[in-house]
């Protein structure tokens, strides 16, 4: 399956990962607002993770059974990550405030 290992590619990806680590730390020194900082850090982390998975773990050249298993994993991972949304939407135990009833006319 992997007859000739691409040695140079491995070294290049390793170097790129180190550069991206430097960029992550440097971006942190700029003290962005939290939403922007989270976005930047996660984009860089996803890029680094993709490089590790595609090249070091040979995911760019795998069989369909592996892709199938990972697709299922990704689907369940997304479910896991969206579970926190239910804690926001959950209103059990929260007092319900009704608008004050309009005063009834006295007879």
């Amino acid at each position: 399956m992997h007859s000739a290992p691409p040695i140079r590619k491995y070294i290049f990806i390793g170097a790129a990962l180190l550069v991206f680590t430097g960029i992550t730390v440097a971006a942190n020194q700029l003290h962005f607002a939290v939403p922007l900082a989270v976005t930047v850090a996660l984009i860089i982390a996803i890029m680094k993770g993709s490089m590790v998975a595609a090249v070091f773990m040979h995911l760019s050249d795998e069989k369909k059974w592996i892709y199938g298993a990972l697709l299922l994993t990704v689907a369940f991972f997304i479910v896991l990550m969206t579970i926190p949304l239910f804690t926001v939407m959950d209103t059990i135990g929260t007092p319900i405030h009704h608008p004050p009833a309009a005063e009834q006319p006295r007879h």
Binding site: G14, T21, K63, L70, P84
Partner: protein, 194 residues
């Protein structure tokens, strides 16, 4: 009894059994760490304030560099076997093992510093999830080191009797090791920087 399909591919899956096995194991690991990342999101979004700058960013960055370098040496250990260079393979595998050890030593100093200041897991919600995530990751590092030590020591003799199966075993060890690196790639910014 011979275990089938350790080197040759199964006709139905097109994969050696070990390869499918390690990927299914890694899929379960994704869910394990995913559950903890999900917990982190719940705790962070639910807290009134979240500490920033409590961790040593320099030490965290050094550990990131160490793990990335160890991923390169791990893949080179496998590539050396494919190129039938036993000496290089040994060198790279031992280097990976040592880098993993340095990572854990750094982590020990980091933990020791926290405990010396009375900042254990019970100190705050942030430190509770920090120790849980990094502790579990550290156990994975330790597990990887045990496997590597086996292949440096008694497991190495398989190279003479069945080199293809040995190369596959090193590749699966590498897949696990790269996954451990991948988890840290997300842990570092999430815990140290954000």
């Amino acid at each position: 009894m011979n275990i089938p399909y350790t080197v040759e591919e199964r006709p139905d899956t097109g994969l050696a059994n070990g390869r499918l096995g390690i990927w299914l194991f890694l899929a379960s690991e994704v869910m394990l760490f995913g559950a903890l990342f999900s917990t982190y999101i719940i705790l962070r979004t639910g807290s009134v304030e979240w500490p920033h700058g409590e961790l040593n960013v320099a030490l965290g960055a050094v550990n990131t560099i160490i793990l990335i370098t160890s991923s390169v040496t791990m893949v080179m250990a496998w590539a050396s076997l494919k190129l039938h260079n036993w000496g290089r393979h040994r060198l790279y595998l031992i280097a990976t093992f040592l880098l993993a050890g340095v990572f854990l030593v750094n982590k020990y100093f980091e933990y020791a510093d926290h405990f010396a200041r009375g900042e254990g897991p019970a100190h705050s919600t942030f430190l509770a999830i920090y120790f849980t995530l990094t502790g579990l990751h550290g156990i994975h590092i330790l597990g990887g080191m045990v496997v590597m030590l086996y292949f440096i020591g008694p497991g190495a003799k398989m190279w003479k009797s069945n080199p293809d199966q040995f190369a596959n075993r090193i590749e699966y060890t590498g897949l696990y090791w790269h996954f451990v690196d991948l988890v840290w790639i997300f842990l570092f910014p999430v815990l140290y920087l954000l």
